[in-house]
Amino acid sequence: MSLFFAGVRFDKTNNSLRKLKVNLLNSPRMEVDFTEDSVKFPEQKFEYLDHTADVQLHAWGSTLKEAFEQCGMAMFGYMTSLEYVQIKYCYQIEATGDDLESLLFHFLDELLFLFSCEPFLICSSLDITKFDLENFKIECKCYGEPFEIGKHPQGTEVKAITYSAMQIVQKPEGNKCEVFVIIDI
């Protein structure tokens, strides 16, 4: 399946919008239009926990959606220092799963894929626009720019997302949701 979408790039320097064509090969993602106002920078709600060979991401939020977004940021934060990332592009990704755990797994896997090859996007803001827990489907807007050595400090490479000791905790009364994911590095 090969699709062509008319994507729009936001150019910070002269505030003009340039039309770009994006080729989507078998990948449920596309470059999308955005304005600076639409980008959110919520406070950091994640940390890195102890693990012998790997790293455990612990993220939380008042909703599950927020905890998922924070978990994605935690992963990007391990690859570079997020304060060096400028927002120049916005890509929309889709992830689906069979249950909550696999939805989180595939969401993170899509983000890792977005970074690992064209467009090599490192994100400093994520916005889940569709969070469907009946069909286990996520649509997310990912804001950032292509990773560039020299501009972005090199952190550690993430090899893979794992299901090992994955925990998704929802406490509706306390208004707090938490996720724990071990990433293989």
Binding site: H51, T52, A53, H152, E157, K159
Partner: protein, 506 residues
């Protein structure tokens, strides 16, 4: 997982001799064979501490302790002999890292498990020799370290500089080092000194997802990050003069280059894809395991065969990757010393794989059997006269390259007959982690670590200096303990010790 108080757990673990312990059947449910692990006095403390911690009530961890993981592997269908833990073992995804297990191919219930190979398929170590001596390199150490760092793309987000398109990648996946040879990146003799001659023949790129290929293409010829490195090393001690001379090492002080890398994002994605497929196959074939992370499929099922073909393609990717960096290292040295790699005698001593599953012939209870041998964080160590090792090493046994940690020494061992009998020709692969990354980051300061490298006279170039403490020697087991245990247990034999003078890391 069976949780018993620590003292009751210990009843299942019996000391065989000064450097090995037996894990008895019953330690975990459904164990088909016993487990064994090799440790010395220093290393056994780490093993038992890990188990004791896991026995504390309310303990919620990501991974099971190594001993439990060895026992869970011993419960997999089709396993023969013993589930073996090498001295550098530490807990990992499904299988512990430093665990080997063999499965009878002719048993229809036997399985293949991506967790028994690891995410970084065919991660391995390659050692190049030179005819230079320490006195030639010391004065230009900083320059040559910088030159290597400039030549080899390292760290997260780096891209390969070997020109590649999608068609080249398909060919490389199928041909392995034959591709590198055809394109002129390696020498014909390099292939001789690689396991499988640098090419797994059953590789089938059509069994690999587009996603894996897309992740792999930009990363071919890159070192990676984490524990991967390129080092300039000096021969520090020779224990076996004959074996060393067969490797082209005549005396101490001779300079070598060690490259530790794997199949990059390509292999990681192949493993991820296979784990998803195998969850389905397990439900269908009703394969029961003690741990969900031990996802596996019958060797003869479609999923099992597809994984083996894709894994072989990833193995080929890793050899092409290490070969590309061999080329770049040779160029860096040639430029620095204004001569050719040929005149510097920069031959490959050997190239070992320490994350792979292979079909091999072994003797089990006096009968020859065809086995699928999983080695995860374990190195093949075939004895002298084995038909699968190159002519040059027929009398010495296969060279085994054991990479140390940043700033510590590395070792070259050789395979032994006893190793062939006890561990299906397998031995340790490195130091093995002792501290978690987060703990290393909290307890150590990267400036101290860098300063210490300087005091030790080691030139260092790192892509992410702030993460060097994760790879500092304190975070790992002592590689000398690991190697000495293998030597004392007789599963491999010490040949020489190498000490780093320059380190290039991601």
């Amino acid at each position: 997982m069976v949780v018993r108080p620590y003292d009751q757990e210990l009843k299942y673990i019996e000391k065989i001799n000064s450097h090995s312990y037996r894990i008895k059947v019953g330690f975990q449910p459904n164990m088909k064979v016993e487990g064994i692990f090799y440790v010395n006095n220093h290393l056994e403390k780490l093993m038992f501490d890990e188990l004791r911690n896991a026995c504390r009530p309310g303990q919620m961890g990501g991974f099971l302790p190594g001993v439990k993981q060895i026992a869970n592997v011993a419960a997999l269908p089709g396993i023969v002999g013993r589930s073996v833990g090498l001295p550098d073992i530490h807990s990992g995804y499904g299988f512990a890292i430093g665990n080997m297990a063999a499965f009878d191919i002719n048993d229809p219930t036997s399985i293949v498990s991506p967790g028994g190979v690891g995410f970084d398929i065919n991660c391995g170590v390659r050692l190049l020799r030179t005819n230079l001596f320490e006195k030639d390199v010391q004065p230009v150490k900083e320059q040559i370290a910088q030159s290597l760092f400039d030549h080899i793309p390292v760290g997260v987000g780096s891209k390969g500089i070997i020109p590649m398109n999608a068609k080249d990648l398909e060919e490389a996946l199928e041909m392995g080092m034959d591709w590198s040879l055809r394109e002129g990146y390696v020498w014909a003799e390099d292939k001789e000194h690689c396991e499988e001659y640098g090419r797994m023949l059953n590789a089938d790129p059509s069994k690999v997802s587009m996603r894996a290929k897309k992740r792999g293409l930009p990363q071919l010829g890159t070192l990676g990050a984490g524990n991967h490195y390129a080092e300039i090393q000096v021969v520090d001690e020779i224990y076996d003069k004959f074996a060393a001379s067969k490797m082209g090492i005549e005396e101490t002080g001779q300079v070598c280059v060690m490259i530790h890398s794997g199949s990059r994002g390509f292999g990681h994605q192949v493993a991820t894809d296979a784990l998803v497929q195998m969850e389905k196959a397990m439900k269908r074939d009703k394969i029961e395991t003690n741990d969900r992370q031990l996802a596996c499929a019958r060797i003869n099922s479609t999923e099992g065969q597809d994984y083996l073909k894709a894994m072989a393609a990833a193995a080929n990717f890793a050899w092409v990757n290490r070969s590309s960096m061999t080329f770049l290292s040779r160029q860096a040295f040639a430029k620095q010393f204004k001569t050719t790699p040929d005149d510097l005698d920069m031959h490959v001593i050997y190239d070992v794989s320490h994350n792979v599953a292979k079909v091999e012939e072994h003797m089990v209870n006096g009968k020859q059997k065809t086995l699928l041998v999983h080695r995860k964080g374990a190195t093949r160590a075939f004895p002298p006269h084995h038909p699968l090792i190159p002519v040059d090493y027929q009398l010495t046994g296969q060279p085994v390259l054991v990479g140390g940690t940043m700033g510590t020494c590395s070792y070259v061992l050789t395979g032994t007959e006893q190793g062939m009998n006890e561990t299906f020709g397998s031995t340790c692969h490195g130091a093995g982690r002792a501290l978690s990354r987060a703990k290393s980051r909290r307890n150590l300061d990267y400036l101290d670590v860098l300063e210490r490298m300087k005091t030790l006279g080691i030139a260092i170039r790192v892509a992410s200096p702030k993460l060097v403490m994760e790879e500092a020697p304190e975070s790992y087991k002592n590689v000398t303990d690991v190697v000495d245990t293998c030597h004392a247990a007789g599963i491999s034999k010490k040949c020489m010790k190498l000490r780093p003078i320059a380190v290039i890391k991601g």
